[in-house]
Symmetry: C2
Subunit: 353 residues, 2 copies
Amino acid sequence: MTPTIKTVAEHAGVSIATVSRYINGFGSVRPANVERVRKAIEELNFRPNVIGRSLRTAQTRSFGVMIPSLANPVFAEAMAGIQEGAKEAGYTTVITNTDYSIEEEPVAVHAMLSNQVDGLILTVTQADDNLLLDQLDSEQVPYVLLYNQTDKPGRCAVSVDNVAAAREVAERFLLLGHERVCMVTGRIAASDRAEARRRGFLDGLRSGGIDHASVVEVDFVNMDVTEVLHSLFASPAPPTALFCSNDALAIAVIAALRTLGIRVPRDVSIIGFDGISIGELIEPCLTTVEQPSREMGRTAVQHLLDILSGEATRNMVFLPHRLRTGATTGPVSDTAPVVLQNPKHHSQKENKT
Amino acid sequence: MTPTIKTVAEHAGVSIATVSRYINGFGSVRPANVERVRKAIEELNFRPNVIGRSLRTAQTRSFGVMIPSLANPVFAEAMAGIQEGAKEAGYTTVITNTDYSIEEEPVAVHAMLSNQVDGLILTVTQADDNLLLDQLDSEQVPYVLLYNQTDKPGRCAVSVDNVAAAREVAERFLLLGHERVCMVTGRIAASDRAEARRRGFLDGLRSGGIDHASVVEVDFVNMDVTEVLHSLFASPAPPTALFCSNDALAIAVIAALRTLGIRVPRDVSIIGFDGISIGELIEPCLTTVEQPSREMGRTAVQHLLDILSGEATRNMVFLPHRLRTGATTGPVSDTAPVVLQNPKHHSQKENKT
DNA sequence: CTGAAAGCGCTAACAT
DNA sequence: ATGTTAGCGCTTTCAG
């Protein structure tokens, strides 16, 4: 395909060291030789073999990124920021997704480490109590967590303040007069941020005098929310407001409610979390806690870079969130209670996200 | 971080060759030594350095993937299929996105080639007449195009039949009685599939006796569709049906029409292209040409693998599409012409997709 | 079945 | 300013 540096050197009538110097801009090369090398490279269509360089320099100038899934736009957006930041710094990224499977996490990380990535950006299910992270710590592998929320000191993570944000969600519901509220979330055990959001939400409600809010866990991967919602709204005092732990889930919930004959926001208010851009385009447009995902991705890269260069400030970094008011929220209504329709047998197909 | 094979060998009291044989399962190792090596690897937490191996074997077992953007769910879905297929075959993937910028294409490809990827999966803007692809051909770099449509023989691509699919879209509109139809598309010059879809669409209309359909190009990246739609619908005989060249655009168009006071499908029918899963969840749910994106990704990997192993069948591969009927299409209505509202100054923010 | 040794493409220390 | 050379971690002949 492309020749080696040796061929280029012969072609230019210089030594491989000179060619190397030319390529890397290190040391100096006589103008006449610069020209000869340049020409040789062009004529031979030479591309330096990064593998050879990496072996020698013991660094690949690449990052490993592990996220649950690219199908959730919030991670795709963060990736955009990561790629952007990495490119600016001259780094390549290797992406692996776990499909929300915790067993994949160590496999993926080890694969990336085998590929000698210089650092890792990870979104794990659980950052507090995590053997894999402990191992990385003990091996001194540079990594930054993204979206994870952890109190463990020395563990560097980029995130919004999920607890505070969720508390604001509760406050908003209370302000609108909602008292029968509920949180719909993916498996709490599989997500420290879901846990933080629950904590903040319940805490916020408690401050407003509501102690009995229920939390419903759903299988987020397959998003079979219809059944759960059906039983939730079959109760004599169904919720008038739902906090969904992320936007993808919120959108699925709204769709499922529709098949049940429950209208948003007339019958029930919805607030999501993430601020994915599609949320602004749908009808009614989604009220949600906006995270600066792209910026978070960039920040994660920046921190990793800082760690690599020794300016290590290993701790949590919180970026600001914003409660974005859409049209899925409204004041609690006094109208007759919801009349539930039978869910159309919509053959809820596997709908990974 | 992790030791080298030499350390493992010393630790196990064998030579590095034996360790290598053990790791690769090639050649045979005495059971006693197997055990000693296994133990040494475990104790030292050894991970073979893939860089060293790659340099020696002159293959990385990795693919380079270049797509326009991960923010468009259709590519994220294809990536899922690619990752899946690659993983099964023991390959890693390196992803680069061009953000729809044609200048980035050669840069990205050369970067991946410098990283010695064993093959490429590419979505380019233009597959027919493309210097970069010509270069890859002449350098004999193994690659497979994805989503691109080309007639150039020997150029391997995985796609649906965009022309046929778009023709079906036209037929559907005609069947519903629409005569004033229009296509809204990203820059045609920047997408061979958009071009193919236009060709099929216009051809289908022509077969139904419609010769005057207009095609409107929009800046897809920034999705500033409101203005274009406003002038389109300000005409005395505005279209009653719109074919959008992809679902992300269709969703943006529906949102923009909403701000203009134009309702879908009452005032205008919409058909998209791609079949992204979010399209099924929105209200009204999107009528679209469904592509089997995940499957296309897998197929692309399979073909690349075939090419690498010499079973080269270098040609276009068409996967079946399906016109999925949603709720954005309906018969043409006889009601009064659309009354246009002024577009709310929605501060159309940059909304990359 | 095992070990010694060469060498993949490159960089960097050293010598000139 | 330039060339020579060692060696990064690994696989793979080739002898034994």
